[in-house]
């Protein structure tokens, strides 16, 4: 269990005057394969920072991040980029879609980023097909050619979810995915995530305020002031 994804004594500090601001105070956490984990806690508890460190978007001040026994803090930037591309799928609170690309292109993007010059056109065709399948599955068949600013919040988050899934990641990281949506739409997204977890077998780590959603997850972790207070 512990050799899938584990965090050991993760500390994150931000320089701030004489005494640095300690956001994470030595967090240790194991994520099992296929697990559905929810992290809850008040604003400023360090949930998002933990998620970012887990997904290689941010570097911890100290501590280790191990994936299948490999220390991910010690590999090169290029390799880290490759892991962000293939291993993790991110969904953010503010969707973070590329405004210059339409829905299907946004979904395709991670697969294209991972693709070199060789066999570009063929891969592109295949990727487009699977992106269209994903979008169809989340009920956006008619909205594929729309750009993010032409989509509603729920639609945008569904596109973002498809984008996170296009490379079939082993770990899906969701940072308050419903924080910016009304409760009805939020519920739809949570339902979708649960279905994906059941069918795809990906490990899911979700940061949320939504207690109702948290109750439905496999495991809930509470954070307070940079520390895990209950498992």
């Amino acid at each position: 269990m512990s050799n899938f994804l584990s965090l050991k004594e993760i500390v994150k500090e931000y320089p701030q005057g004489d005494t640095p601001l300690r956001v994470l105070k030595g967090v240790s956490l194991d994520v099992a394969q296929g697990e559905y984990l929810t992290i809850v806690g008040a604003s400023g508890a360090g949930k998002s920072t933990l998620l970012h460190i887990m997904g290689l978007l941010d570097q911890p001040t100290s501590g280790e991040l191990l994936f299948e026994g490999r220390d991910l803090g010690k590999i090169s930037g290029l390799e880290q980029a490759g892991l962000r591309n293939r291993l993790f799928g991110f969904v953010f609170q503010f969707f973070h879609l590329l405004p210059d690309f339409n829905a299907v292109e946004n979904v395709m993007m991670p697969a294209l980023v991972g693709q070199g010059l060789w066999g570009w056109t063929r891969t592109r065709r295949q990727v487009r097909q699977s992106a269209e399948e994903l979008l169809t599955r989340v009920g956006l068949k008619e909205r594929m050619k729309h750009r993010p600013n032409q989509l509603s919040g729920g639609e945008r988050q569904r596109v973002a979810l498809c984008r996170a899934l296009i490379n079939k990641p082993r770990v899906l990281l969701l940072d308050e995915p419903t924080g910016n949506l009304d409760s009805h739409t939020g519920e739809e997204i949570h339902e979708l995530v649960r279905t994906l977890n059941r069918e795809g077998g990906q490990a899911i780590v979700m940061v949320t305020h939504n207690e109702a959603a948290a109750r439905r997850a496999g495991r809930v972790i509470r954070m307070l002031d940079g520390e895990i207070v209950s498992c």
Binding site: L57, D58, M109, V113, G114, N167
Partner: protein, 592 residues
Amino acid sequence: MYKLMVALRYMRRNWLNLVGVAAVAIGVLVLIVVLSVMKGFDEEFRARVRATLSDLIIENWSDEPFANYEELMAQIEQIEHVKACAPRYEGLALLTLRKKLPDGTYAPGEQRRYGAFLGIDLPREVKATDFADYVRAWRGKAAREELATIFSQGDVGIAATPTERIVYALNTLCPEDLQLVDAKPREKLAAWAKAAGISLQSAFRTAASAPVEWGEVPDSKLSPAFAGSELLVIGQDENGVQVSMGPGDQVVVFSATDNFANQTFRRCQVNGEFRSGMYDYDARNIYLPLADAQRFMSNEGKVTSINVRLDSFDNAPVVRAALLGILTPEELRRGLEILRSLGGTAVPKINEIGLELKRLAANDVTWFATGDYRAIAVARSVAYDTYAELEKLQKSGSPNAAALDFQKLVLKREGARLGRAGKMTLRVSTWEDKRRPMLRAVMLERQIMGVILFFVILVAGFLILSIVHTTVLSKIRDIGILKSIGGSVGGIMSIFLLNGLLMGAVGSALGTLGGMFITKNINTIQAALEKLVGYSLFPRDIYYLDKIPVDQHPFWNTTAICLTAIVVSLLASAYPAWKASRMSAVEALRYE
């Protein structure tokens, strides 16, 4: 590959990129057009500066005339790559212009000029130099009157076929005269040309290729001469009309030498005019037959220079070396082989000797003519003597001593030759050597222009820098997103480098197309502009050119300009691209 896709999308969404493309295009266009036209002018200018100089010019160091030139020329013509030789007798002169009045006497107010007379051997001169291209022989008054009769009376004439008639007409009345006289002769010529099934232009060419002749003079006291076109201008009459010398008028050439006992003059009848486009030559030079020049300077059998034409100017260094050569390349090679066979410490000595020979060759002084100017023969015999001595030394053993002895021997021989030939030295220069200052000035001008115009591209580079910088600023969130889905530092950097590169490449391509279009059609464009603004933008009488010249082989220039533009664009986008790639993903995502 996604980098290109993203870069293209960003460019399509931001019209500022068009500004960048336009800036590069304008820079490239201006550089191509200006440098092309300047190169065109340069080539014209080179031809003019060169005028009647051949590839190589042989003169006496002291500028004194030298004898036995026929023998010398025969030897020079033996050398590989040499096509033709022509002797010249040049000297400074005072020139007096005498215009003939209608009553047969000469105008009382004589015009005096200083200038140069050049005695030339016409049949050889036209083979060895471009003299024929610059000279226009007048066919005399009788011929003109005859032509006037032909024109006025129709096809009654001397020549049977229309082609013959055209050539005759063109040889008699020069092309420029045709434009000066009323339109009728030209129309008539055009009609004849049409009847003969040839174009008037090819008729002009045929006429131009007719051999140049000195023309006739009434008595042996007169020499036929071709005078520079500016030299012939006397001034203006009371009505402001330009008065020039014409057929039958005379120029008296007074020798300007320091030989006071021997001041002489020669009367010449102007039978044609010389026009190179270089004011200096056209205002000073008068050409007359070589024998006449030699006789009037009391220097029969001597010349001041020999013009040598080669199969190609590229071979000038080779022939020059052969002319200057103490040793021919073959002889030098043999000598070095022998020295090398001595082995050991002799080898460095070879280099010393080689350098010594090179130094002498470079000094121009090395072609030492003996009293009877059999320079090459003497040089060869010296070289062979040297080898004979060397071979003897080689047999006697002791390589080091032999090598040293050889060196001494070579230097001794050189010394002896210097002493023997002391005051009789000939100098071989290429035409470029002779016109070096002017050519340098022109080249420098073009280089400076290139540098100045490069700043246009540099400004375009600054524009690209700021455009890419604004793109980066407006896409900070995108950078975070791309990083979160696996975009690497290099990947992010490439997106913005590609942005600059594409602006540079597209701008260069458009600029090249535009530049090529303009250079190809520059004369049409100029004509259209002239019509529009109503005055002449390219006065032909100032430049002596019918049309704006352009670079005929612009490939390398264009390639260099485009590459520079692309490199500048790439460098300009490097800084913002680097900044973009260094952004932290989390901060970029948080950026509002």
